[in-house]
Symmetry: C2
Subunit: 209 residues, 2 copies
């Protein structure tokens, strides 16, 4: 009976905000962004739907808040940067795959990735995070104009792997074990980072060498 009784603030100190966040997190992971309605979140948190707007402003705000408390993938990857450049491809790949293969951290990441494509604003956020926290450092270590480009193409390769393995689930990539991937993909990363590029003249064909 204490249930649906009138309006006004509830007694005690129920951490409603956390409750909502928790319910939202579960539902977003289970049903995706579109598949999760604010009313459903409110229901799961046993709260009125208007409270979500009150606390988080909007559904996107709620989504952003749930993302904020999931492990940041770039954080993980950045820790691999300082080491020996020569072994960076293996280390970066290993760290990346580990983060995304573990459902605990991977599922939120996939959800976020979906959100990225959904919302242009989210896309800005990821782009800048990727540049500022990762590629800029890498570019600096590589040096010069070429360094910036090499770093970006490195990022493209990483992104491609994630996209095909976790979002598109393309076979056989999706079911290969991570060591196999590291072994086969690292040389390509290495080529972009350190490999010589063919002379400008050698465009259309493979050129000599």
């Amino acid at each position: 009976m204490n249930k649906s009784s009138g309006r006004g603030r509830r007694a005690g100190a129920p951490d409603t905000r956390e409750q909502i966040l928790d319910a939202a997190r579960r539902l977003f992971l289970a049903n995706g962004y579109e598949g999760t309605t604010m009313r459903a979140v409110a229901g799961a948190a046993d709260v009125d739907a208007a409270l979500i707007s009150y606390f988080f402003g909007s559904k996107r705000g709620l989504f952003g808040a749930t993302l904020a408390l999931t492990a940041n993938p770039l954080e993980v990857a950045r820790q691999e940067l300082p080491g020996d450049l020569a072994t960076l491809p293996e280390r970066a790949l290993t760290a990346l795959l580990q983060a995304w293969d573990d459902p605990r951290t991977g599922e939120p990441l996939v959800a976020m990735l979906r959100g990225v494509v959904l919302d242009p604003g989210m896309s800005d956020l990821v782009r800048e995070a990727m540049h500022g926290e990762l590629l800029a450092h890498l570019a600096e270590r590589l040096g010069g104009v070429e360094g910036g480009r090499r770093a970006a193409l490195f990022g493209a390769q990483m992104g491609g792997l994630i996209f095909t393995r976790y979002l598109l689930r393309l076979e056989p990539i999706a079911s290969m074990n991570s060591q196999e991937i590291v072994r086969m993909y690292a040389p390509a990363l290495r080529a972009v980072l350190f490999g010589p590029h063919p002379g400008r003249a050698a465009l259309p064909h493979t050129g000599r060498r």
Copy 2:
């Protein structure tokens, strides 16, 4: 006049279906899937919104129908397969960039890509097209189990380039000219297609610091 008089079939033989498709195509490209409402499409086609459901079943159906009449990117890429394997990276990259850089073909492709991430069913479609029309052939030419994996990783690299350049618009990739990209990226593709992979022992290695 023929004006907005009552209900019932209109006189003559107006190809309403085409009108709707045309309007939908324009709006989807301009405003994206979410940003395009059925009522807006109906308005632009000068038709009642219910007609869309009548002809295409649902908004997704309409989206699918508009996609069906845009140039197929895989078709383009597949034409590059038969040639000399040694020059495949350059040829494939060039063809890919050309298709996506031209707004005329590229914009629909970006729209489709957004749709892919949006809808799991659409994702299946792309995955199978990519595998059946492209990677399977490439895998066969490369041969063996490794061939399948090399082909898939090749696809991942291509996908990564598209994702970062056209969807995420990561700099400096987004503003590099296509020749530059071909020059710098082709060696990496080559590494995945033909390069030797390090012996199994050398795996996470890094180990011997």
